[in-house]
């Protein structure tokens, strides 16, 4: 069984946010409004955050693309009373909307702010990917046509792409990658099997300096950042 992980090369990243927009388009993540933004209620499964330090003229700001970290020891999983969020065997931490009771414990527990509460009524925008008919369900589930109001959402590592690829025998990480990785113009996002020493992600981690966010939390994130 693979253990999927992501490697983001900050030395290549341009801070362009194609990843964040592509995630919204791929997964029908609702957009926000000025009011929701003000209240920090805009749902984002992916966000490029800015971390700054220092003073003029030696200021330093880093832009860090952040999906869910798919922690191997995920606090969100531990705290969920409804077992709505769970870790799949392949390491993807997933959220079952139907089981979620909207208690938001996981939002509090996640050290990365990776989760969003869906305050919105289900709506359908013209540009959203439509629901496939039931007889096509064998072609891979399409999980996000209609969002459920009042539950928590987050990045899925685009498991629908991964599952489909595995079923069709395609190479995940080469032929098929998550939407954010596909959209990255700088090719700064890599995806693959962390347990396969020959995968590109493993090779990068073996040959380059890397860090994970908030290592001290003991969450064992599966998103790695390459520094220079």
């Amino acid at each position: 069984m693979a253990r999927w992980g992501m490697v983001i090369d900050l030395s290549k990243c341009t801070g362009c946010q194609s990843c964040s927009v592509a995630c919204k388009a791929e997964n029908n993540v609702p957009h926000g409004s000025p009011e929701e933004h003000e209240k920090r209620q805009t749902p984002f499964w992916h966000k490029v955050i800015a971390v700054s330090s220092g003073e003029y003229p030696t200021v330093r700001i880093d832009l860090i693309p952040m999906p869910c970290m798919h922690c191997d020891d995920a606090p969100c999983v531990t705290v969920c009373p409804a077992k709505a969020t769970y870790r799949r065997e392949d390491g993807i931490v997933i959220q079952d909307f139907r089981r979620c009771i909207g208690c938001k414990y996981c939002i509090v527990a996640c050290p990365y702010g990776a989760r969003s509460f869906n305050y919105k009524e289900p709506d359908e925008e013209e540009y959203q990917r439509p629901d496939p008919p039931s007889e096509r369900a064998d072609r891979g589930i399409w999980p996000f046509p209609h969002r459920i109001h009042g539950v928590v959402e987050k990045c899925t590592f685009c498991f629908h792409r991964i599952d489909e690829a595995v079923k069709e025998g395609k190479k995940v990480g080469e032929e098929v990658v998550p939407a954010c990785a596909e959209a990255c113009p700088a090719h700064a996002i890599y995806f693959g099997d962390l347990d396969d020493a020959g995968s590109q992600v493993s090779r990068l981690l073996a040959s380059r300096q890397w860090l994970r966010l908030r290592e001290e939390m003991g969450t064992s994130p599966k998103v790695f950042y390459l520094t220079r």
Binding site: K12, T14, S18, Y56, R139, E174, E182, P185
Partner: protein, 763 residues
Amino acid sequence: MSRRTFIKITAVAGATVAASRLFSHPALGSVVYSPELPGGEGVITEKWVPTSCLNCDTRCATRVRVVNGRAVKVTGNPLSRVSEGENCARANVGLQVLYDPARITAPLKRTNPAKGRGIDPGWTEISWEQALSEVGDKLKTLREKGQPERLLLLSGLNTVSAEDIIRRFAGAYGTPNLVSADGLNNEADKAGEWMADGHYTQSAYDLERTNYILSFGASILESYKPLARSLRMWGKIRGERPNRAKVVVIDPRYSVTALRADQWVPINPGTDGALALAIAHAIISEGLYDVDFVNNRTSGFDEYKKLVLDYYDPDTVSGITGIPAETIRQIAREFAATGPAIAWRGRGATSWPNGSYTSYAIFCLNALVGSIDVPGGVIYQENPPYRPLPEPAEDDTAIKGRARPALDLRKTERFPAAEVVTNQVADSILKNNPYPVEMAIGFNSNFNMSAPGTGRWDAALEKIPYYVHAAPFISEMAEYADIFLPLTTFMEEWAYDHSPPGSGFAEVRIKQPVVEPLYNTRNNIDIIFNIAGRLGGTVEQSFAGIGDDAGGFVKYRTAVLAPWNKLLEQGVWVGPDYEYYKYDRIFKTPSGKFEFRSGNLEALLKEQGEEINSLTGLPYYREVQYLGDSSDYPLLLSTYQPLLNVENGSQNYPWAQEMFLVMHGAGWTNFVEINRRTAQKLKIKDGDTVWVESPFDRIKTKARVFEGIHPGVVSIAGGQGHRAYGEWAKGIGVNPNEIIGVDYDRLSGQAALFNTRIRVYKA
């Protein structure tokens, strides 16, 4: 067909190319539903249509996924070599451009004769026939009066094919007054290159192969075009080859490019020219320049050398720029030693009075180190070999009209080298200089928002007796229209396109309708064909035999490149590989060489009767004249274009709005960025509501206390502050152009954007 094009075609046919990137592309069959579909209930139809983006003038090749007739996803087209199949974040925002709820769905006519800011035009829907016959009649009457020059055509962000058609219409009708937005962007950049090598164009840089980038105010990762190419190449040169390119960014503001660079060097605003000359001083005095190139391929070096050595030693220039002399020398040594190196100038350095000279001074650094037409240096963009258009038919009216002086005073004593002086037009309209404007048509233009001194544009638009606006939505300019013509968006129409200079080799993209037009809208090319037909005579003749409508015109111009169905299937045509070292042909100067002393400029000024002195042709530095008194207005106002500023004249796009300012984690807004120490002195705290006041006007916004900005400068992001339609844009943020004064780089007519003084105080 070039060998490369052939290989690409094989790849698309799904054969055996091993490039993993190609395979990861959904267009080539990864995560999409299979195209063979079950019949009956709940049928899903799906296709990927190659087309191109128009959210900026890079006009990237894209593929759009269409499910059940709805466009749901945009990705790059792997056949494009300019951006190597990549796009920027705005490509997917194209979906929200197409499905924008604020789009106008039918032609509109104004019922309220009063015009002005905030005045309701009283729109009423009319038919296309009525709209176009009214416009046609007006045009006909004006032309019959023998005053075709009194028609003003304004052009914002359009497809290349629409630009070609609009230009042809201007010529056939007989007006010299076709005005694009270029005068607000990088005309001074262009003039600087022209002074050196005779090419009046934006410079192209061989980013992919360079080892060192020295950016003078160029926002390479946010707004410099071709943007998606820069983003792709950035990844390449910073992490996909053994020798990582070094990047040094000179900018008073810590931009996204600066934060991703190896070194940020804040500079006193407006002094980039002096810095370039000091770098030249260090390179020359330390004997680091490319002797071979300078001796064989350049002229005027001795005068240039004397200028540089006499006046611009790093110690002196350190006092001007605020950059330590040692840093100047360090940059100079690295620049000369780490070839191929690029000195890259952008708006931040050149949109100033005397911007042409600054641009020239920076451009000369490339020649000093031999980075001209070499791999990894400055290159010369090839234009796509579209099928040439026949000479337009012309009558006396057209010939006479075109010969009249233009409203923007281009190529006059006022703006001697200028090709277009966008911002001058407002004043010319107001002063009937050199004659009154009777009628204007704006194609996707929005100058009373995007040009400094917005109020003048409002007054000018109010004054124009008959104004027609063509765009997909109601912009600030559209509110002054007598007739509004609703356009299709770029996913609904036919066009051909290419990017601004950058790649070297030529590349064409075909836009084809991805979905049926959603509303009763038309393509601007079709509108012009229609109007030309109504005008008859030579105007009509000029549009005969070139395809008859947008689709036909695109085919006429491009089907010579490759078979038409192949173009439609692939969406992209790539020209032959770029050839370097064309020294026998590229220099369009009196000496036939790269000129450190500009023969082109001296000849032009002489022709216009100006006196030439020993400095005129040299890239010397002159201190900037500011607008406003430094005691009353102690700070300078600067602006920048964040990547998610959609450049079509609207910002009514939630995806772009909610991630608008990545550096600040801010969306749905903009604010004034102010250095912490400056803010402390002014007793302003982060988040305070403040007035930003120039000698011309003031705007109220929030303060963002920021470490990444020169203490003498404040900065406001462009793209917000819309007043017109659109719930996601209207009333959000402020528009700095409301308070920026009107000034120019004299030679090129480039609007000076950064020399307005301001003060900031709590509201």
